[in-house]
C-alpha cells in the first residue's frame, strides 16, 4: 500500500511538472512534445529498480519502446483527425485510444 501511495504522489508531481513545462514553452507545436514526456517512466523506474532490480526494469524499458511507437501512431492519428474533421478533442483522443492498444500489443506479439 505504501508503495502505491509513493507511486501516486511521485507520478502526480512528475506528470504535473511536465504539463507545466508544456504550458510555458512556445510555439505550441514544440510545447506538445511534453505531452509525450517520459513522465510515468521517470516516476516508476526508481521504485522498480529498488524493488525488482536492474534486469526487470530493463525488460520494462524494452516494452516501453513498443508503447512509445504505438504512442507515435496514436498521436499522428489524433493530429490528423482533429485537423481534418475538427471533432471535439477529448472525444477524438479517447476514441482513438484502442489504436494504441492494437499497435502496442501487436508489436509485443510480433517481436517477442
Amino acid at each position: 500500500m505504501t508503495e502505491m501511495i509513493i507511486r501516486f504522489l511521485v507520478g502526480g508531481v512528475v506528470v504535473s511538472c511536465f504539463a507545466m513545462l508544456g504550458e510555458v514553452f512556445r510555439p505550441k507545436s514544440f510545447a506538445g512534445v511534453f505531452g509525450a514526456a517520459p513522465s510515468i517512466g521517470l516516476a516508476t523506474i526508481g521504485i522498480t529498480i529498488v524493488k525488482h532490480g536492474h534486469a526487470y526494469a530493463a525488460l520494462e524499458a524494452r516494452s516501453m519502446i513498443f508503447g512509445a511507437i504505438a504512442f507515435f501512431i496514436y498521436a499522428c492519428a489524433c493530429s490528423f483527425t482533429l485537423m481534418q474533421y475538427r471533432w471535439q478533442s477529448l472525444g477524438t483522443a479517447i476514441t482513438l485510444i484502442p489504436l494504441w492498444f492494437v499497435v502496442s500489443f501487436a508489436l509485443i506479439y510480433l517481436i517477442p
Binding site: E23, A36, S63, G67, F71, F72, L82, R86, A93
Partner: protein, 147 residues
C-alpha cells in the same frame, strides 16, 4: 524559435492543476498494478500509455475557446486546431520516448542507474528538439514553395 512564456501558468486554474496531478498519480499506480499482475513485458507498455494526453488536449481546447470568447468570437475551430498541433508535437515527443526507452533497455543492466536515467532524459529532450527543428524547417520550406 523556441521561447518561454511563464505568465501563461497564471491562466491555468487550480482544478486543472489538480486534474493533471490526479491523472498522473492514477496512471503511475495503474502502470505499477498492471506490471504486478501481468509482468514486466506487458507492464512496460503502459509506461508509454497516452493517458494524460486526452485531458491535456481537452484543456488546451478549452483554453483556446476561452481566449476567443473574451474577444467575442467562437473559438471551437481554433481550439481543435490547437489540440491538433499539440498532438503533432506529442508525436515528436513519442519518438524521443523511443530513444529514452532504448537507452534504459540497453544501459540499465550494465551501468549505474542514475547515470542511465539521466542520460536517457537528456537524449529524450535532444531527440525531440532535433526532430521538431527538422520538421519545422521542412514545413517552412514547403510554405515558401507554395508562395
Amino acid at each position: 524559435m523556441i521561447s518561454t512564456q511563464w505568465a501563461s501558468l497564471k491562466d491555468i486554474k487550480l482544478h486543472e492543476y489538480l486534474l493533471r496531478f490526479l491523472f498522473g498519480g492514477l496512471c503511475t499506480v495503474g502502470a505499477g498494478l498492471i506490471a504486478q499482475r501481468f509482468g514486466p513485458v506487458v507492464g512496460g507498455l503502459f509506461l508509454a500509455f497516452p493517458a494524460i494526453f486526452p485531458a491535456g488536449a481537452s484543456l488546451l481546447e478549452a483554453h483556446e475557446k476561452r481566449k476567443m470568447a473574451k474577444a467575442g468570437l467562437d473559438g471551437t475551430n481554433q481550439g481543435r486546431e490547437a489540440a491538433s498541433v499539440d498532438a503533432a508535437g506529442a508525436s515528436i515527443g513519442s519518438l524521443g520516448l523511443v530513444a529514452f526507452s532504448f537507452i534504459l533497455w540497453r544501459g540499465l543492466p550494465i551501468h549505474n542507474a542514475s547515470l542511465v536515467v539521466g542520460t536517457a532524459s537528456v537524449v529524450w529532450l535532444l531527440v525531440s528538439v532535433a526532430i521538431w527543428y527538422v520538421r519545422k524547417s521542412r514545413w517552412l520550406r514547403g510554405r515558401s514553395v507554395e508562395k
